[in-house]
């Protein structure tokens, strides 16, 4: 396997809280990798460390064969990111934002403008192209953030909850685009709480709990690993609940409800 993302002993603490605890992870080229975990498991902290937004307390990160700490600019040039907070300059218009991001990644003026126009059309943001991003709806902001992540044609896409707040039609559009990205040799590292989407899109799954990787394999291997012989194939939701401990779904009641 041609490994494009690799972490060794990755650890991040916030005061006395350990968000990620000795994470060893490998993601191969052209994999659609879904990174799952319950709330507070360390998904966003991991993705922030992998993209250079957060410094690890310990451990190492290699992206595209380069050490992130020492070659951060080169790595950043070759990846695209839709972070949790979207990282948008909201007082630019959609057009200005894409133009700006494209040129920050070294595209020529004309190329950046041409790709920006195509992306705005593709994301169905054409009619809002000259509106300030601040005036966009949440779903529109997600789309413009995704457009900004791919404008420079990255080799790896890191997507933190990319479909949250996006309508069904747009989500379908984005999914087909992401699958085409994979088919052309790209790699996607995605976190999502919508397990149906992850199951339909991802080829490989990593599950994190309490900052530790508790499962990491292809979906088929995961199914085979937790399946009971003779019983029907498990859904990703069932696999997930078994791995993170279905007992967490307690049956307590609210006395006043």
């Amino acid at each position: 396997m041609d490994v494009v993302i690799e972490t060794r002993g990755l650890r991040r603490t916030f005061g006395e809280v350990t968000a990620v605890d000795g994470l060893d992870l490998q993601v191969g080229r052209s994999q659609f990798f879904g990174f799952l975990g319950p709330n507070g498991a360390g998904k966003s902290t991991t993705i922030r460390m992998l993209t250079g937004l957060l410094r690890p307390t310990a451990g190492s990160i290699q992206v595209l064969g380069l050490d992130l700490e020492h070659h951060s600019v080169e790595v950043k040039r070759r990846i695209g990111v839709v972070p949790e907070g979207l990282a948008l300059f909201e007082r630019l218009t959609g057009t200005q934002l894409l133009n700006f991001v494209g040129r920050m990644y070294g595209l020529e003026r004309e190329t950046a403008a041409q790709r920006a126009a195509e992306l705005l059309e593709f994301m169905e943001l054409g009619s809002s192209a000259d509106q300030l991003v601040a005036d966009y709806s949440h779903g529109m902001k997600k789309k413009i953030a995704l457009a900004a992540a791919i404008i420079h044609r990255p080799e790896i896409l890191f997507l933190d909850e990319p479909f949250e707040g996006v309508d069904a039609i747009a989500a379908g559009l984005l999914k087909s685009m992401l699958q085409r990205f994979i088919a052309r040799g790209g790699t996607i590292f995605l976190t999502s709480h919508v397990l149906e989407v992850v199951e339909r899109l991802c080829s490989h799954i990593g599950i994190i709990q309490y900052g530790r990787l508790v499962a990491c394999a292809s979906i088929d291997d995961l199914r085979a690993g937790v399946a009971v012989p003779g019983s029907p194939a498990l859904t990703l939701e069932q696999i997930f609940l078994r791995v993170v401990g279905g007992a967490r779904a307690h049956t307590g009641e609210l006395s006043w409800l």
């Binding site: 250079g52 950043k76 200005q96 133009n99 700006f100 920050m104 003026r109 192209a129």
Partner: protein, 534 residues
């Protein structure tokens, strides 16, 4: 819930918001800076209050009633303008969100209005008003009841107008087009105000000024300060009643306007909603700036668009050149209108140049303040922070130089400005500008704070940055003053030029150090900075 418990709840929220704004993890320095700034501001405000009381006493006691008008106008301007200008310093409650709770409109209206009284600038204005009232009552104890009633009515008008202004501004500034119109309106108002001032206040107003005065003065008598002034002038019961009724009527009109605004907000109106037209996407390529590295150009373009697109910033930057133009033209205007005013170019020019430095200082000390979550984009992008900081400084430097160039050209065509004076001022500006941007870079990474100038609801300004700005400006002013004093003492006209040029070289070295240091600091602490900005 009863009305009283709603008010209590609101006061609690306001207090909690204020208290939480002080609880920023790991920012003890910022808290200390805020306390120092608050103590200093409080001392200045209270001293002014005492001055107002003495002024009001003198006005009534010595028959200089016009002084009362001036004092009351200061209170009016403070109450109406400061909350808007200083909104970034005042953590607020989003009343669009309050409307989501099960609350009747009448109570919603009352709570919204009462909230205006809890604003720090409103409390300051009320304190000053109280001081003025005390001064007047001290001078004429028999008027005490009249004064109390008149000043309560005065406060009511100001409160209602303040709430209308605030709501209207929030509505106007919520769209880009609204911001552009607002900017244009403020600019035109500034120009018109300047000319009106010369026409009306000038000792010899001329024919046009006299005509304008005849129109304007009766109108001024209908304003709240004018109505109070009329009573102070004659002390008659009829004038008192006219004043009270007039101010209550104005408060009533403002209350109706506020009701119209708030009813729409209560029903869930979103200001930025509008009809979107479908047009073909046309993307024009970004800027080209010859000589600058390829990745620096989009940073400069983004910064320039952000600053120009932020109405308050654009107005500030534009004001210097506008004032330069007005000062240069006004004396001509004065001559034409025969109002007997003349402007000394040699004295005004250095002052305006200093103002140009002050204007960029406000942004240099917290240069990431507009970016909120966008700050992460700098970390994600394949650029280093040195380029980001340089890009920001280049835009501020260009604004400073453009203002300096403009006022230099404008004042050069007037007599009284020597080449030595121009060279001295330019070298002084270089020294002050580079020092300001250098210190600004350090405070911008040490203590950034997010400010949303787009809406009228924002979080904190950076207390540490404010303290840093004040300290640096006093240092600059002190050093410039010392040089000028030495030049006067030794009778040398050229001494300041050599000193300022030397200081400018030292400032350049400091500036270059600050860029490198701030870039390294930002790269190492980007996650901490991001958490401070949003």
């Amino acid at each position: 819930m009863t009305t009283t418990s709603h008010f209590r709840l609101l006061a609690e929220v306001r207090w909690q918001v204020f208290r939480n704004s002080l609880r920023r993890k790991g920012k003890l320095g910022d808290l200390i800076a805020k306390i120092i700034v608050a103590v200093l501001s409080g001392t200045v405000a209270l001293s002014l209050g005492v001055t107002f009381a003495v002024g009001a006493y003198t006005a009534v006691h010595s028959g200089k009633q016009k002084l009362i008008v001036m004092l009351l106008w200061v209170v009016c301007v403070c109450w109406q303008v400061l909350p808007v200008a200083l909104e970034g310093a005042s953590p607020g409650v989003n009343f669009q969100e309050v409307a989501r709770y099960p609350i009747r409109f009448r109570l919603y209206y009352l709570v919204h209005t009462a909230y205006g009284l809890l604003d720090p600038t409103a409390l300051l204005s009320l304190t000053w008003l109280g001081c003025i009232g005390a001064g007047m009552a001290w001078a004429r104890p028999s008027w005490i009841v009249y004064i109390i009633v008149l000043l309560v009515a005065f406060a009511l008008v100001n409160l209602m107008v303040n709430r209308v202004v605030f709501d209207a501004l929030e509505r106007i500034l919520s769209t880009r087009r609204g911001k552009e119109r607002f900017l244009l309106g403020v600019t035109l108002l500034a120009i018109a105000g300047q000319f009106l001032f010369y026409l009306v206040v000038a000792p010899n107003p001329g024919r046009w000024g006299q005509a304008l005065k005849t129109w304007l003065l009766p109108l001024h008598d209908l304003t709240p300060p004018g109505l109070v002034f009329r009573f102070v002038l004659d002390g008659r019961l009829a004038t008192f009643l006219l004043g009270v009724v007039g101010m209550l009527a104005q408060a009533g009109v403002a209350a109706l306007m506020l009701r119209w605004f708030l009813w729409r907000k209560y029903l869930g109106e979103v200001y930025t909603e509008g009809v979107v037209r479908r047009t073909a996407v046309q993307v024009r390529p970004g800027w080209t700036l010859p000589g600058l590295p390829k990745t620096l150009v989009p940073i400069v373009e983004k910064e320039a668009r952000y600053l120009v697109g932020t109405a308050s910033a654009a107005i500030n930057f534009f004001t210097v050149s506008l004032m330069g133009l007005l000062f240069a033209v006004s004396s001509k205007f004065g001559e034409i209108m025969k109002v007997g005013l003349s402007i000394d170019a040699a004295s005004i020019y250095p002052g305006l140049a200093g103002f140009a430095v002050l204007v960029i200082g406000g942004y240099a000390y917290n240069s990431f303040c507009h970016e909120s979550r966008g700050f992460d984009r700098w970390v994600l992008a394949p650029v280093n922070f040195q380029q980001v900081i340089l890009g920001k400084n280049l835009v501020l430097g260009a604004i400073l130089l453009a203002n300096l160039l403009f006022i230099t050209v404008v004042f050069s065509i007037r007599p009284g400005l020597s080449l030595l004076r121009v060279a001295t001022v330019i070298s002084g500006v270089l020294y002050a500008g580079l020092t300001t941007m250098g210190a600004g870079n350090l405070f911008a990474v040490w203590s950034p704070a997010g400010i949303d100038y787009g809406g009228l609801r924002s979080r904190n300004v950076s207390g540490m940055a404010v303290l840093g700005a004040v300290t640096t400006q006093f240092t600059i002013l002190g050093s410039l003053g010392a040089v000028m004093w030495a030049a006067t003492r030794w009778g040398s006209d050229s001494l300041p030029l050599y000193w300022f040029a030397t200081l400018a070289l030292a400032a350049l070295a400091f500036y270059l150090f600050s860029v490198g240091y701030a870039a390294r600091y930002a790269a190492a602490h980007s996650d901490v900075m991001a958490s401070q900005l949003y």
